[in-house]
């Protein structure tokens, strides 16, 4: 099974206070870059779909793709250190991208790579647009399933049974690949991925606060030697058209940080009634 996992680098949300905005642009100066956590979930799901976790062997192929400047190579190498086989970097400046441009570029990469599945983040932690996956599926004419919590493959990876946890309950869908899937964080729980190779009773460790598995030093070093293609838009034969125009950015207002510690629930209820007047 071959899975394409698009990966975006985003400014580290832990140091969000370093972000500076000026009119219609966000300054990238001095930011620390990390893998988009939503993409990490999909990478972890892709790893579980393409391995025998019990025998610790890879059984399929993952191609990670990023659109960005040269330095985004580090993010791709990080993904390869976790197990992805190959990387593709498409040259692009963050300021020239919107979700539509991303989807158009990814569609060309999919055409070239012919994966069985595209697994991507439901959104990016910086733009929060939540568009690119659906738009990509539309351009490809592929089915799209958003916020998958469980994925089971059968028929040599051609048939996918997917669960989505919704407010009204759990929805189960069956689709014939190829397809585009975005994941919810539930996908990181043990027992959510069944690929017919990893024994059904194998238990993945709980990842705790992590968004994907830790690499190890051997794999980090091995990732240096894995193949990584660097492409320009010309190589892909695409002239993406942007539909969004960024008009302005502003930072959120600072929080007041006023907190009161109360002695009892009764006191809380009383204050919610008399002071906050929300009850």
């Amino acid at each position: 099974m071959k899975v394409l996992v698009p990966i975006k680098r985003v400014a580290d949300p832990a140091n969000a206070n370093k972000v500076k905005v000026a009119g219609s642009e966000v300054s990238h100066d001095g930011l620390e870059w990390v893998m988009n956590p939503f993409d990490e979930w999909s990478l972890e799901a892709a790893l579980r779909l393409t391995e025998d976790a019990s025998a610790k062997t890879r059984t399929g192929e993952i191609v990670v793709v990023s659109i960005g400047p040269k330095a985004a190579v580090d993010t791709l190498r990080e993904a390869m250190g976790k197990g992805a086989e190959r990387g593709v970097l498409v040259d692009g400046e963050d300021t020239a991208l919107d979700s539509n441009v991303v989807a158009q570029i990814l569609a060309k990469v999919v055409e070239k790579e012919q994966p069985d599945l595209v697994l991507m983040g439901k959104q990016s932690a910086d733009g929060d647009s939540n568009i690119a996956g659906t738009k990509l599926a539309e351009l490809l004419g592929w089915p799209v399933i958003n916020y998958a919590s469980h994925i089971e493959t059968s028929d040599d990876g051609k048939t996918l049974t997917i669960k989505r946890e919704l407010d009204v309950g759990v929805q189960t869908l069956k689709v014939q690949g190829p397809a585009v899937i975005t994941c919810s964080d539930r996908i990181l729980k043990p027992g959510t991925i069944k690929n017919g190779v990893t024994p059904a009773d194998f238990e993945y460790p709980d990842l705790g606060d992590l968004n994907s598995r830790l690499s190890n030093l051997k794999n980090i070093m091995a990732a240096r030697k894995k193949p990584l293609d660097e492409l320009g838009l010309g190589d892909l034969g695409v002239e993406p058209v942007r539909v969004d125009e960024y008009v302005g950015f502003e930072l959120p207002a600072g929080r007041s940080g006023q907190a009161q510690f109360l002695e009892s629930v009764d006191e809380l209820v009383q204050k919610l009634q008399s002071e906050a007047k929300v009850l």
Partner: protein, 393 residues
């Protein structure tokens, strides 16, 4: 693009990120408990083997990663930021044993000892200090004499990190410095001694330490201990060179441990001083508190730049950096202790309790002024080396 002294290659940056995430998610939650109970977390130690960092500087052919002194500093700094005690056990294993054996032992010995040590199935250490010989290391009195295909070792070793993994169980393998009977003071010989060797026993697990309580410390006893000739490292009388080679990486990684303590202490006091209010203002609006925070950060960064600059210049196969490997430890050990002390001061009563971590870091920091060379030993070595110079370049 400017060189990042602390992460000179993308692999260094990824290593740092990987260890930091491991430290935050798996090491942090257990740190206070193992400090309080004064116990070594063996299952967690074995996980370091899965991460591939136990053999960070050991060649790939023996199960290591084949990386440099900078990589070793990164692992120590990141682990020490959450649990210096656990990190000290890592250091004793990975630097004092694995790196030492890799640099100094022959191929057969490396093949016998290193794969298990790199995987984490063995817990190992190094034996230098004795009950009556510390800074004066050449005053050691453990002797060896040849008896056929064996050497017979007699003596005792003190303050051995990883000497015991529990109250009554020895660590698995040790590199032991001794002197051949009748040999001159400067001629030492080193041996690989395994648990189960006749005449090798646990004297006592040392209890009631001020800090570094998550690393096990022991006195080890050699009484007619019969070590096969195949376990002698190098030739008789050549171990001074082994010792010198390894002391340098030991000191640099101990300095990196102090950096971890300092970084965490700065983070803790910075966060607290931003949130906590006094007289209607956040603490960090007060000049006295600003001095604690700003000076701590500047000293931390100065120590960090010095340490990584020296680590970046090191050739692990060759000694010759004593002045600066002593220098980084001299500076960083006391710096780490002072920064942890200021963190307690900024936090006041809260800093004095376990929940805010800095009291533990402060206790752990003190050891780094003593272990792996006292500050007085560094001052002596450095002044001796400096006396040979007239101009500094």
């Amino acid at each position: 693009m400017a060189v990042d002294l602390f992460n000179p290659t993308p692999e260094h940056a990824q290593l740092r990120e990987m260890v930091r995430r491991f430290a935050e998610t798996e090491v942090e939650p257990q740190a206070l408990e193992h400090d309080r109970s004064e116990t070594f977390n063996l299952p967690l130690f074995r996980k370091l083997g899965e991460l591939g960092v136990l053999g960070v500087t050991c060649g790939e052919e023996y199960g290591g990663a084949g990386l440099d002194a900078v990589a070793a500093c990164i692992v120590h700094e990141e682990l020490s930021a959450v649990d210096p005690g656990f990190t000290l056990a890592y250091l004793a294993h990975s630097m004092l044993f694995v790196n030492n054996v890799y640099q100094n032992a022959n191929d057969e010995q490396r093949r016998r000892f290193l794969p298990g040590a790199c995987e984490g199935t063995k817990v190992c250490g190094m034996c230098m200090s004795e009950p009556d010989a510390g800074t004066d290391v050449l005053g050691l009195r453990t002797t060896a004499r040849r008896d056929g295909d064996f050497y017979v070792l007699d003596g005792a070793k003190m303050w051995i990190t990883n000497g015991a993994i529990s109250k009554d169980e020895l660590g698995d393998a040790f590199l032991v410095y001794a002197r051949m009977e009748g040999a001159p003071r400067s001629e030492l010989t080193s041996f690989l001694v395994e648990k189960g060797t006749p005449g090798f026993s646990l004297g006592q697990k040392i209890e009631d330490k001020l800090g570094m309580r998550a690393s096990p410390t022991a006195e080890l006893v050699f009484e007619g201990c019969r070590v096969p000739v195949a376990n002698r490292i190098g030739e008789e009388g050549t171990a001074m060179l082994h010792m010198m080679r390894n002391l340098e990486i030991e000191r640099v990684t101990l300095a990196a441990m102090s950096l971890g303590i300092a970084r965490r202490s700065v983070e803790v006091m910075n966060d607290y001083a931003r949130e906590r209010k006094s007289f209607g203002e956040p603490l960090n609006r007060f000049g006295q508190i600003q001095r604690h925070i700003a000076e701590s950060y500047a000293e931390y960064m100065a120590g960090r730049a010095y340490t990584y600059q020296v680590a970046g210049q090191m050739d692990l196969a060759k000694p010759g950096q004593r002045l600066d490997t002593d220098g980084v430890k001299l500076f960083c050990a006391t710096m780490g202790k002072n920064v942890a002390d200021r963190a307690i001061q900024v936090l006041g009563g809260y800093g004095y309790t376990g929940e805010y971590r800095v009291e533990r870091l402060w206790r752990d920091a003190k050891l780094l002024e003593i272990g792996g060379g006292t500050v007085e030993a560094h001052q002596k070595n450095m002044t001796r080396d400096l006396a040979r110079l007239t101009k500094l370049r």
